[in-house]
């Protein structure tokens, strides 16, 4: 077990290092420099370079860069809000995005589980069909189509919820975005729960439990669901990817001041530092979650750990 975690940890740190290296290389090749003013004399330029550490060899610069990144110092924004430290920008925006993402995951997981369980228990009936249709639509229709439909019906025509995000009503304005984001989660969790439960339901140990006289909710909750839910950890990674891309669009549609909309604005206005900081944060979050998922899965299901330690990966 320790060996498995160690191996995963090394791979994750290595990947994060590759990401930083990539970002650093890109920065070196970026056109233009803040100091290519022709009026500067050679001495002045040398002083500036010394001040910012640009006279150091590239390896030392890279070392400094990694050190700063690790401490959460991402430099200042160039164009979006001039000379504001990026960490300050993030401080106000990150919680909003995390909140909406978290709500979407919770809501999606809950509804998805219920749908999946209903579909599996009443397998082959109209409930099964309805749940399958919902999950096919949820997987195939992009989240921004849902966001637009919700914004039009509940935000504009019925005016139940604010059409655009307002800081005074943080919960009320986060309802529609969370629903729009969670559709994909609902769909994938429902699909997965259904197939896993069907597999467990047809297994021998459920037959044994039934013949011992366990039935009804107790059978489903204690015997079926507990075993069916183990592999659901594997769906987490694609879900997080979906949430990341989804948040960009949903934040744009509802004008939410989160990190997704910050990234879009940064790209449109060529704010390199912000783009690179956000790329780093997105990668770090993703790699971290993948690491947790892998370790969790190894803890829950020893077979995975053993097969991953084998010669064929």
């Amino acid at each position: 077990m320790r060996r498995y975690i160690g191996k995963r940890l090394i791979i994750s740190v290595g990947t994060l290092f590759v990401v930083i290296l990539l970002l650093f290389t890109l920065l070196q090749f970026m056109p233009g420099s803040p100091f290519n003013d022709e009026k500067l004399t050679k001495e002045q330029r040398a002083t500036i370079y010394e001040k910012y550490g640009l006279d150091q060899p590239i390896i030392v610069q890279f070392y400094q860069y990694v050190l700063h990144m690790a401490q959460g110092d991402f430099g200042v924004s160039y164009t979006i809000s001039k000379n504001t430290p990026i960490s300050q920008l993030l401080q106000s925006r990150l919680p909003i995005s995390l909140r909406i993402g978290g709500q979407a995951v919770l809501l999606g997981a809950l509804i998805g589980l219920i749908l999946g369980i209903i579909a599996a228990i009443w397998h082959g009936t109209i409930w099964d069909t309805i749940s399958t249709i919902i999950s096919v639509i949820g997987v195939s229709v992009p989240s921004y189509v849902f966001a637009l439909a919700l914004a039009y019906v509940f935000g504009y025509q019925l005016s139940w919820f604010p059409l655009l995000y307002s800081a005074d009503l943080p919960f009320k304005s986060s309802v529609l975005p969370s629903i729009a984001l969670c559709m994909f989660t609902i769909a994938s969790i429902a699909r997965f729960t259904r197939s896993e439960m069907l597999e467990v339901l047809s297994s021998d140990y459920i037959l044994l439990a039934e013949s011992k006289g366990v039935y009804g909710p107790k059978l489903i909750l204690r015997h079926v669901l507990r075993n069916a839910l183990i592999p659901i950890v594997t769906v987490l990674a694609p879900l997080i990817v979906g949430l990341m891309t989804g948040s960009l669009v949903v934040e744009k549609i509802f004008s939410i001041p989160g990190i997704g909309s910050l990234l879009v604005t940064a790209i449109q206005s060529n704010d390199y530092n912000v783009i690179i900081a956000l790329s780093f944060i997105y990668s770090a979050m993703y790699i971290g979650i993948m690491l947790v998922v892998d370790i969790l899965y190894g803890v829950i299901d020893p077979r995975i750990r053993l097969s991953k330690e084998g010669p064929h990966d």
Partner: protein, 350 residues
Amino acid sequence: MTNDLATVEFLPGDFELKGAETTKLDMNFASQRFWKDAYLRFRKNKGAVFSLITILLIILLAVFGPIVSHYTYQQQNIKETNMAPRVPGLEALGIFNGDETLKTSTGSKLKNAYIVNKETGEKSDTYYWFGSDALGRDLWTRTWTGTRVSLYIAFVAVLIDMLIGMSYGLISGYFGGRVDSVLQRFAEIINSIPTLVIVTLLMLVLKPGLMTITLALMLTGWIGMSRIARAQMLKLKEQEFVLASHTLGASNIRVIFSEILPNIISQLITNTMFSIPSAIFTEAFLSFVGLGIPEPMCSLGSLISYAFKNFTTHPYQIVPPVIVLALLMLCFNMLADGLRDAFDPKMKEM
């Protein structure tokens, strides 16, 4: 008993090969039966057949839609902006006659932008089947031009899966050992960087456009496919027919591509079909956030993004691209589901 047999002499003429005229020795008999079975199962699946027909219809419309209209996708008519849909024939029924209800602060009012003479109610001779946008461009032409982009992306996704993903996975699985280790670590690292970040960084270096999106898909799109191909290869490469082929002196390339590949192609096709909707989505998503196709070219995503700006006042502008995009995604997903069930009926219960 042995004596009896010895006295009987068999001559070639004593036997007749039953059905000798109709049956020919068929080397591919098993695989033909497989494809025929799959076809029969697929035909029974109503959802999948419906999806296939819808996709074909969308392809036809994307090819001929822009040709039959009188407009081009970039032609502007500043006098005819924000016209509601008007279709000849249907307008007599009271629908699609160019009427639109505008919500104002004083209440809603009915307006028809096609009317040239206010007293007689005479309408001009122009028709915009899906309406026109804020710059006076025909939405029918633009929607189908945008659909072409999505279909191109679908084609690219298939090509990437089949060329890069498949070969990568097959080679990695077949050779195993150190080759496999190196290739898998590389794929793992690429896979650990979110696609979003890869695309964003590409946009910094390259200009937004179709080529950049293609490149982004190339960098990330093959990983899922390579995993499936590798897993299938690991399953098959220890089997007897592979050993037999080796013994007969077949080269590695031959064993991989003409012995093993035909046995796993159905799984690979299914997986390819599943990667199409996600590729279409990636493009539409990028165009929506403004990283995709630059104006005046358009894709479904950029059309939605453009119409989104005034979708509370002119909701008809956003409807056609949204419906086409949703239909494309839905149908490719259902088609992939249908193909999976057809190739592997055991999976249906899953």
